[in-house]
């Protein structure tokens, strides 16, 4: 609860800074503030409690995921320093929206009432619509915003319908009450339908097949930093929320429901990976890669009781490597109209450090050992096999192989092609973010227990 209040306070503070004309200080202050919030959140780790009529429930799950979100937001805000250089007059708005978005995200993982959940997801979504369309003179950005908005509000409608049906079945929005009631034998069919509709709405948010179509288009059209946000923070938030929704409501996950999850998971991996193969736009490629990672993360839904830790680990691994990759993309594609793969030609020669970081990030996503991505996949496979879905794991393995194809396309472009032009300037912040993110990823890879055991 304190986290949420603090974040909102920080968001308002950002707006005030604009009024006091302290634009230069916004990014550092926000980062410091977020670090403070991070400390606050971590301090709540062991004090599970519920606040305000069970509206907000602080648990280990919520604190750990909130911390992850905060860390990601810190990176994203820091990257904003360079990204919004030319938009000084709006920088406070951008930063504030991001902070509010974080508030929505935190609400989504710590809700105790479906109202909080719904408002949280709406805050998040609306912030994203705005950020996607924020490059207002750019038609691509407009288009991305429009597509995202239309499809997102459509999905919101479905989520709302789901909530409504759950309410109809249970007569309450409180998840603990719902959880208690869901044990009773006489459940109206509204409840499972509500759960399914809710799930579908969330599957849209995590961009799982067949609800993924928005993702590549929106990722490509949005400003690069927004893409970074969507592909890391937003995806992780949505996934964590879906997990939490299903677990806290104690929804009776039937076998057929699991079948659906398995099929969607397989489809997401396969479609995501195969479609990514022929992409030339890096953001678009990472969008499809994100689709496939969503498929991987969906595997956690098959073994609720134990998989919270692995979801957290996968989410951290994926989002940290995503941040690292996007910081390099931001650097490379700055002042370019597109994020075409040709921009990366010869990066290995002109900027070996960033090239190495991007390589490491991609290797992590591909699941090559010692990077966290490997262990993430490992624990997932482990749990899924334990749950008895060997076929799914084999599909996942095949997909891991396919994924190497396009991740390496980028690596090859960096190391085998000749650079086409000089890049100037060494933006310290981008370097710092990239290095810290990849180092965190490596640390997670070397000491997976740090995270895995948190929610065990």
């Amino acid at each position: 609860m304190n986290t949420l209040i603090a974040i909102i306070g920080l968001g308002v503070l950002c707006l005030l800074f604009e009024i006091f004309n302290l634009r230069k200080a916004i990014v550092p202050i926000t980062i410091i503030g977020l670090l403070g919030v991070l400390g606050l959140t971590i301090s709540e780790f062991n004090s599970a409690e519920s606040y305000y009529n069970n509206m907000i429930v602080v648990s280990k799950f919520s604190t750990t995921f909130s911390s992850l979100f905060i860390v990601l937001t810190i990176f994203l805000v820091a990257l904003g320093h360079n990204f919004y250089e030319n938009h000084q007059s709006k920088i406070s708005d951008f930063i504030a929206i991001k902070v509010f978005l974080l508030a929505g995200a935190v609400a989504m993982v710590s809700f105790g009432n479906l109202a909080m959940f719904f408002l949280g997801i709406e805050v998040l979504s609306i912030s994203l619509y705005i950020l996607a369309a924020s490059d207002r003179m750019n038609l691509k950005s407009n288009e991305a915003g429009m597509k995202y908005f239309l499809m997102g509000s459509f999905a919101s409608g479905i989520i709302l319908f789901g909530i409504c049906l759950i309410y109809g079945a249970m007569g309450s929005f409180d998840v603990s009450e719902i959880s208690a009631l869901s044990q009773s034998a006489e459940l109206p069919i509204w409840f499972p339908i509500g759960i399914v509709l809710l799930t579908i709405g969330m599957l849209f948010k995590v961009a799982a097949v067949p609800f993924h179509f928005w993702a590549p288009d929106v990722y490509e059209g949005s400003p690069a930093l927004t893409t970074a946000l969507m592909s890391t923070l937003a995806k992780v938030v949505a996934m964590a929320t879906l997990y939490k929704l299903l677990s806290v409501m104690n929804a009776d996950i039937s076998e057929s429901y699991k079948m659906v999850v398995v099929v969607i998971s397989m489809a997401s991996m396969t479609v995501g990976n195969i479609m990514a193969l022929r992409q030339t736009n890096v953001k678009r490629m990472l969008a499809f890669s994100g689709v496939s990672h969503a498929g991987f993360m969906l595997m956690t839904l098959l073994s609720f009781s134990t998989s919270a830790g692995s979801l957290l680990y996968y989410a951290s691994a994926y989002s940290l490597s995503g941040i690292a990759a996007f910081s390099v993309i931001l650097y490379v594609c700055k002042n370019r109209n597109n994020e075409d793969i040709t921009n990366f030609h010869g990066l290995g020669k002109t900027n070996p450090l960033l090239a190495a970081i991007l390589t490491a990030a991609l290797l992590s996503m591909a699941g090559i050992p010692i990077f966290a991505g490997f262990f993430a996949k490992l624990v997932l496979f482990n749990q899924t096999i334990q749950a008895g879905y060997l076929a799914l794991v084999i599909v996942a393995v095949v997909n891991s192989i396919i994924s190497v194809g396009y991740y390496f396309k980028l690596i090859l472009a960096m190391y085998t092609k000749e650079p086409n032009e000089e890049r100037k300037g060494t933006p310290v912040v981008i370097y710092a973010v990239a290095v810290v993110a990849i180092v965190l990823n490596l640390v997670l890879g070397l000491f997976p227990s740090l995270v895995l055991d948190l929610l065990a």
């Binding site: 830790g309 290995g348 290797l363 090559i368 050992p369 010692i370 490997f374 262990f375 490992l378 624990v379 496979f381 482990n382 096999i385 334990q386 060997l390 794991v393 084999i394 393995v397 095949v398 891991s400 192989i401 190497v404 194809g405 390496f408 090859l412 190391y415 085998t416 000491f447 997976p448 227990s449 895995l452 055991d453 065990a456």
Partner: protein
């Protein structure tokens, strides 16, 4: 003092090399390579005195993964192969000028580190991690410092990477599956599993895919020739000298004891596959125009025989396989180095463009010939010891295996001598062939000395590996 020291030396060496800068890189790398070799010899001494030089430490609690390095005779033998070949390989590259050499040599040491780790790890997952790690450096070595058309090279290298990764991922699934049952990745815990025949078959096949691609056995070998050809010679040496052996070692260490029922049930098929590789590789090698490609196919033939030996599940088969692995490691490094020496002078690997070298450099020719002869397992070379033992074990299974596998004696001589004839003999070449330098000569002499020494006196290695192989055999035979 335990084996983790070697890993530390190699890893630190990799970083130190990277930091040393382009000028010093090769020397620093060589120094660390030597240090690792020295250290492993010291460790071998400790091991022979009966000291425990294994290392185990819990790494990850959930899932239960330990940082377990176990050094038994087999591991020590393979470790020695790695650590001895590494400085030799580095030394052999002194004549070449690599751009960005700090990264190059750092990657070599890193690869050596990963391979040494693979040979030492006794925790399934740790093993898998090292296994995969070794893939990354060679990928970059082949990609960035390789030769030939960049696009072609890219294709070959990426294929290699994806292909090998594909195989090993199934191995990972098998490991995870076994972990479900055993609750640990430790080798000894996995040994205790009582898997049904069907489970064993699938696990066996999953492992097989990984190893068959890595070794490579036909028909999974298509990456090999191209990568060998395209990679810089140092990379080719690492690949063929050590990395191939990772697959073979793993068959002995992991695949057979973990799925003995399947191994026994289907051993004829796998022996057959290995022997088919022998014949196929030899025949394909006949008509190769590129020296490195020819050596690649000869490698295919040799490892086919080694693999056939391992699948006999007899002490002789395993022992012969290990001996032959070590012998082949040395001889193939030597042969690729010869190809490199010729390339340094003639800028070509096409056999047709060579010829008439012998009259210009008799010393080099003799060394080349000795390596050729060792490769065709002339008695008194190390390769003979291995090949004989393997063929003997095959004859115990079925005499026809030995006869068919033995065709390597004939076909091997055929293609190697044909290659030698066209590469070295004939009218004096119009292009001048400068005599071998000290470095080149020294490298070859060391390799030849090793081959002859162990060819006449393989006892130390046999004594080293036999107890651990017997232990593995006990594991293989634990269920009947």
């Amino acid at each position: 003092m335990n084996v983790s020291l070697i890993l530390i030396i190699l890893l630190v060496g990799a970083f130190a090399t990277f930091l040393a800068g382009d000028k010093l890189a090769s020397k620093v790398a060589f120094f660390f390579g030597l240090a690792a070799a020295g250290c492993s010899i010291v460790l071998l001494n400790h091991y022979n005195l009966g000291e425990n030089i294994s290392f185990i430490n819990q790494w990850i609690t959930q899932p239960n993964i330990s940082f377990a390095l176990k050094a038994d005779g087999l591991s020590m033998a393979m470790l020695l192969l790695t650590t001895v070949l590494t400085p030799i390989i580095i030394f052999s590259s002194f004549g070449n000028d690599y751009k960005n050499s700090k990264s190059f040599y750092a990657l070599i040491l890193f690869m050596s580190f990963a391979m040494a780790g693979t040979f030492l790890a006794s925790d399934g997952l740790l093993y898998y991690i090292f296994w995969e790690l070794s893939l990354i450096p060679i990928y970059f070595i082949a990609l960035i410092w390789g030769n030939g058309d960049a696009e072609e090279r890219k294709k070959a290298v990426v294929k290699f990477f994806i292909y090998t990764l594909a195989g090993s991922l199934f191995m990972l699934v098998a490991f995870v599956y076994m972990y479900q049952k055993a609750g640990s990745f430790l080798l000894e815990d996995l040994y205790k599993l009582n898997l049904t025949a069907t489970e064993q078959l699938w696990i066996f096949l999953a492992f097989f895919l990984a190893y068959a691609i890595k070794i490579p056995l036909i028909p999974f070998h298509t990456w090999q020739a191209n990568v060998y050809q395209k990679a810089p010679t140092v990379g080719t040496m690492l690949l063929s000298g050590i990395m191939l052996k990772m697959g073979l070692y793993s068959v002995i260490r992991w695949q057979l004891p973990l799925a003995p029922l399947a191994a026994k049930e289907y051993m004829y098929i796998f022996i057959g596959l290995g022997i088919a590789g022998v014949i196929y590789g030899s025949i394909v090698a006949l008509k190769q125009k590129d020296l490195k490609k020819l050596l690649a196919y000869s490698s295919l033939a040799h490892v086919g025989l080694i693999a056939a030996g391992t699948y006999t599940l007899t002490l002789d088969g395993l022992r012969g396989a290990v001996l032959q692995m070590i012998a082949h490691g040395f001889v193939v490094v030597g042969l690729f180095y010869v190809a490199e020496i010729i390339f340094r002078r003639y800028e070509t690997r096409a056999i047709a463009e060579m010829g008439g070298i012998r009259s210009q450099t008799p010393k080099f020719t003799s060394m080349f010939l000795i390596l050729v002869l060792a490769s065709v397992a002339l008695p008194s070379t190390f390769n003979f010891v291995g090949e004989f033992t393997v063929l003997y074990s095959l004859s115990q299974i079925n005499i026809w295996f030995a006869i068919l596998g033995g065709t390597t004696i004939i076909l091997g001589a055929y293609y190697m001598l044909k290659m030698f004839q066209h590469a070295m003999l004939g009218e004096t070449n119009t292009k001048i062939f400068a005599d071998v330098t000290f470095n080149e000569g020294a490298t070859l002499v060391i390799i030849i000395a090793v081959l002859f020494f162990f060819g006449m006196y393989p006892k130390p290695i046999i004594d080293l590996i036999t107890p651990s192989l017997q232990e593995i055999l006990t594991q293989i035979n634990r269920i009947n």
